[in-house]
Symmetry: C2
Subunit: 350 residues, 2 copies
């Protein structure tokens, strides 16, 4: 079993070069500085005082950058030069981050990890510019693979994988929003949705890392499967945390996903498997515009009675095993760090 | 002087291959069909019945696709094969269209050319998926240049130009929104803003078309200058139409840009050049949350008194001449159709 301290040491070592690349890409065009400074606010590098309009260096802790780091570790596990993968890593992190900007707008989430989300600071119309602007920096980051000597055809292959992952992300987002209006979502549909919304980007992290190291299509596919499976397990773990995680560690209240009417896996499981009476309890709460603390508590009690958390955790474990099996089949000589990070992601409590 | 009938014949001839390519790209991924059907609604190919959820073939007239057509004509004017440029043309049109989706959301515009805008049909959260999803199809379209035998390095150059144009578009959008809160915008700032928001994409249309036909950097730069100048002239003409155009032809009410608090060139000119009293009249109207018909009328009277329309039209003419001069310098043997379309755009009344 991987220890969290091992994972943290790897993240600590690989985060700085990724961070430096991200800062370069977001800092390339100082014109219209408000656009880029607000991206830097979202990246947790700057704080912003709405009243004075001043930006100052932030002490907020940034993201773990685990997608770029999985990309780098995949390149390395396949015998490639990790340094080559840094621009692809920046692209992956930009995709993740611009999608969060849109996600907060769509869900009306005013907080992201203890800080006001970008739209809560500057309003939704301008926040769209920040999100779409960051989306357009993804190509800028990928094009920097040219400076690493990566062949043009390989760069196009990577941009293809990245673009498909973004498309899937919004396909998943569209499915997710449509679930909000439905009471009959099946577990299979949920898996398809998170496969798109979350796992496609983790798949892309490993696939791009692999493409930079090898022409062996079979190996690239196995790493892609590894990434997608780990991504699904990761999202289910996120669903569990979104309901049961200690509010002090998440920056959002207990049962937050329930309050936001999220049809995450534990809820879908309950709607399909709880007693008729319990199912009705969940539906009554979910059909309210505003849920009270009591409503949230009632739903959580239903989840408890039908062991929805245990079920979700068992599905996550199943996908984790599937991912590790793909990695076994790839038979890489030095994939220890990649495995450590994958296990850390799946069992994380952050 | 170009006749509108000549321009319409060119548009009529070149629109179908562009349209076919667009339909292919937007139809490549039938999964999560609502996402793509709603893109097709926005493209005016489908109508949508909100109550039944049914999509039917639309009889609405689509856009002119003038950006792709300028790209194709540039390739051709430089002796290249127009067919090669079709995927780049599709990318340009996708950029224009996804930006309109965001623009309608940001400006709260419920109508786009006589039809409900996409957010007015499905709400803003889902409309974001359609806009960002279409944004991610831009790369998919560009990657199809591979099938036309375009060298990988040239495709990367084209993707670079396209990405920069998208970034500029959102820089311009950010400037435009910030103008709404300011009463002291200078004409130069306005020109910088529309250079980014509108002209960068017209520049990219000509620059990508040129890159596909020649390695001569000097010629590419001249065509880029041509595109940017025509783009600025086009936007100023659009500003004029946004205030004075016959409501029956625009699908929006007279003085619509005024009612929407737009700081377009005629308004900026008036704020800088009208009498003190007239300036105050404009500011009073613009500081109201909701403008009445009388407010709009009062502002239009101020514009009349300081000849703001004549001024705007003279600036448009200046940029049009600058663009044509760049084309003269490029000294192409067969640029007649490119000139015809450019003149049509600048003098259009649609």
């Amino acid at each position: 079993m991987a220890r969290a301290s091992d994972a943290k040491a790897i993240l600590g070592r690989l985060r700085p070069p990724v961070e430096e690349e991200l800062r370069t890409v977001i800092g390339l065009r100082p014109e219209v500085s408000s656009l880029y400074r607000l991206m830097q606010y979202h990246m947790r590098w700057l704080d912003y005082d709405k009243d004075t309009g001043e930006f100052t260096v932030s002490t907020a802790s940034g993201g773990k950058r685990f997608r770029p780091i999985m990309c780098l570790l995949t390149t390395s596990a396949l015998g490639g030069d990790m340094d080559t993968a840094i621009p692809a890593g920046a692209s992956l992190e930009l995709i993740h981050n611009f999608s969060l900007i849109f996600d907060d707008i769509q869900d009306n989430d005013e907080l992201r990890r203890f800080r006001p989300s970008i739209w809560a600071v500057i309003g939704k119309p301008r926040a769209l510019n920040i999100g779409a602007g960051m989306h357009s920096l993804v190509n800028v980051a990928s094009l920097r693979l040219r400076d690493k000597g990566v062949p043009a055809d390989t760069i196009l292959d990577i941009m293809d994988v990245l673009s498909q992952s973004i498309i899937e992300l919004f396909e998943g987002q569209e499915m997710d929003l449509s679930f909000e209006e439905r009471d009959d979502v099946a577990v299979e549909e949920y898996i398809t949705m998170v496969g798109k919304k979350t796992a496609a980007l983790v798949e892309a992290s490993c696939a791009t890392g692999a493409i930079l190291a090898t022409n062996d299509k079979g190996k690239v596919d196995l790493l892609a499967t590894f990434g997608r499976s780990i991504g699904i397990a990761f999202q289910i773990q996120d669903d569990v945390l979104g309901i049961w995680k200690d509010p002090k560690k998440m920056g959002t209240p207990l049962g937050s996903d329930i309050r936001n009417h999220k049809k995450s896996l534990p809820i879908i499981y309950a709607l399909n498997n709880a007693s008729k009476k319990d199912r009705k309890l969940v539906l009554v709460a979910y059909h309210k515009e505003q849920m009270s603390d009591e409503d949230v508590k009632a739903v959580m009690d239903v989840l408890e009675r039908c062991s929805a958390r245990e079920y979700a955790e068992s599905v996550a474990e199943e996908y984790a095993k599937k991912g590790m099996a793909a990695l076994d089949t790839a038979g890489l000589s030095d994939d220890a760090e990649l495995r450590t990070i994958a296990r850390f992601l799946i069992h994380r409590e952050f």
